[in-house]
């Protein structure tokens, strides 16, 4: 190695160490990470499935239930007023988080899956027989099945935009597939299996040139990429609380005002009405039209706190740290015989999927769990993508702001031992 190369590597090591020191202060905010699993320090690398929660989020939910809980919107007493303020404050935080032009364009749901189901159900009146709905080959089941059902109801056709072996959308094919028949394009922003960050601006622009409705599944992206729905100009953007350090059971649907007004409600009942008689019902204004029943108030408080947490971070530094972990892990994995990385886009996030020759992901996952290492194994709710790669599943390590380079060393050591064990 030349002196110049040596100095360059040393400089990177110093930068990594400095950054990691900063990130360790953040790690201390996550109490769950300080525990043993099977007698070993927990190494949590399943962040694409769900991130862990900082104390501020846990305390916000606890504080809400200890001091402010009541039902929202129609109560005149103090607790109801407080609960309503907390709930609507959370909506305001989400509004700013995604740069929505208005607060009433933010609908709280159970999560990304329900957000997609809401759209797929509510746009039924806008879709006709022989219309086409486009999705990509890398979609999560939650961005496949609701559209299949919509097609069954309407007679529309579901078309799948192909991807390359590296895991990139074939944009030329996509451009060919968008026609005047295309009524809706629903695409994942950041693939949960491949880590690919899709060129959604280009995808949205092309879809809009044919007046198609655009839906962006931001479940994985929202915690990693700053979202500006006005700049993106998408019709819908969706994400979940639990993947951005918030609680489970709460999600977000951002929608453009004109289309939210045009489509039908998703569920019917209390909260979503203005006036009810036995003869007819008048629906409430946005956002309440889409929030039937008592909402997940504590979940909203939690997602609000998770947005405060994210806003308190240096997001560039977090991104650099996560990608440094990804690149470090990729480099180490590629040195192990028989490992094949699934998803090699040049524009990707800190998600690393791989398979090991002759070894099943579930066996690997179970064995390395003995070393306290939590990874996700299987099809990651992307069975058609597994079919594309002709594999039953992958091992997926997904990194977050609180992970460390030494945790990746532990992952690599555990993988080597698992391989040795299974090869015997």
């Amino acid at each position: 190695m030349s002196m110049a190369s040596f100095l360059a590597i040393a400089k990177i090591d110093v930068m990594n160490a400095k950054r990691e020191k900063e990130m360790m202060k953040i790690r201390e905010e996550f109490p769950i990470l300080d525990q043993k699993i099977n007698g070993e320090d927990l190494v949590y690398l399943d962040n694409a499935a769900s991130t862990q929660k900082p104390r501020t989020v846990i305390n916000a939910i606890k504080n809400y239930y200890e001091n402010d809980h009541s039902n929202v919107h129609r109560g005149v007493h103090t607790l109801s007023v407080r609960a309503t303020e907390a709930y609507e404050r959370a909506r305001q935080k989400v509004t700013e988080f995604v740069n929505s032009p208005n607060k009433h364009q933010i609908i709280f749901t159970k999560g990304t899956t329900e957000s997609i189901n809401l759209i797929a159900s509510s746009v039924t009146n806008l879709i006709e027989k022989n219309d086409e709905i486009l999705i990509t080959a890398m979609e999560h089941h939650s961005n496949i099945v609701p559209w299949q059902e919509l097609c069954k109801r309407t007679g529309a056709t579901l078309k799948v935009i192909p991807i390359s072996e590296d895991g990139d959308i074939l944009m030329d094919k996509y451009r060919e597939m968008v026609t005047n028949k295309t009524k809706l394009v629903s695409v994942v922003h950041l693939s949960n299996t491949l880590g690919t960050i899709n060129p959604i601006e280009k995808i949205i622009n092309k879809a809009k040139s044919h007046s198609a409705i655009t839906v962006i599944d931001g479940a994985q992206a929202a915690g990693h990429i700053p979202i500006d729905v006005q700049k993106l100009d998408c019709d819908f953007y969706l994400f979940s609380g639990h993947k951005i350090y918030g609680p489970t059971g709460i999600g977000v649907l951002y929608g453009k005002e004109d289309i939210l007004n045009k489509i039908d409600p998703y569920q019917y009942g209390g909260e979503m009405i203005l006036k009810v008689t036995f003869d007819e019902t008048t629906y409430n204004d946005l956002p309440h039209k889409f929030e039937a029943g008592t909402p997940n108030i504590a979940g909203a408080v939690g997602i609000g706190a998770s947005i405060d947490f994210i806003n308190s971070l240096d997001r560039d530094l977090c991104h650099q740290h996560e990608m440094s972990l990804h690149d470090y892990a990729m480099d180490k994995l590629e040195r192990i015989d028989g490992i094949r990385i699934i998803g090699r886009s040049s524009n990707k996030s800190a998600i690393l999927s791989f398979v090991i020759d002759g070894m099943h992901p579930h066996d690997i996952g179970t064995i390395i769990n003995q070393k306290g290492i939590a990874v996700r194994t299987g099809h990651h709710c992307t069975m058609p993508l597994m079919d594309f790669y002709e594999i039953p599943g992958t091992v997926r390590a997904s990194f977050s702001i609180y992970n460390t380079h030494s945790e990746i060393d532990k992952l690599i050591d555990a993988l080597k031992l698992a391989i040795k064990m299974l090869k015997q």
């Binding site: 099943h360 992901p361 579930h362 066996d363 179970t366 064995i367 003995q370 070393k371 194994t377 299987g378 099809h379 069975m383 597994m386 039953p392 599943g393 555990a414 031992l417 698992a418 064990m421 299974l422 015997q424």
Partner: protein, 137 residues
């Protein structure tokens, strides 16, 4: 590193499974999917009838599932249908409720005795048995 589940016998069985592949003559077959991981298994009854059990299997699956299928094929071979179904049901129940070692079952099954400590893997072990029961019934 140790893993109580991954015993040598289990790994060996999965590397050299009994009756792995399609039999020359297929009387009937049944395919099943593990919804938790997408694994697939096809269990075949070989021969001209279902009276004397002669099971074969093909699978894209983990070690637990392959080894369990191998044990199934070897230990049910030659049983008549009623006895075979009863045996398979007994094993399936024992795998699920963690009582595998409490019954007078073939010793080969002992290597799956720890499965109950790994709740997310129980379906891997039971899949061949439930698929075979469905096939024979």
């Amino acid at each position: 590193m140790t893993s109580n589940l991954y015993k040598n016998q289990l790994i060996e069985l999965s590397h050299n499974p009994y009756h792995f592949g399609k039999p020359e003559k297929i009387f009937s077959s049944n395919e099943a999917l593990n919804p938790l991981c997408g694994d697939k298994i096809t269990v075949y009854q070989s021969g001209d009838s279902i009276q004397d059990i002669d099971l074969w299997f093909e699978s894209v699956s983990c070690i637990i599932c392959s080894a369990s299928a191998s044990i199934l094929a070897q230990n049910s071979e030659g049983m008549d249908m009623n006895d075979g179904i009863e045996f398979m049901k007994q094993v399936e129940t024992a795998l699920k409720d963690g009582t595998l070692l409490d019954h007078n079952l073939p010793k080969a099954l002992n290597c799956l005795g720890e499965i109950n400590n790994y709740p997310s893997r129980i379906t891997c072990a039971t899949l061949p048995w439930s698929t075979a029961i469905e096939l024979l019934q």
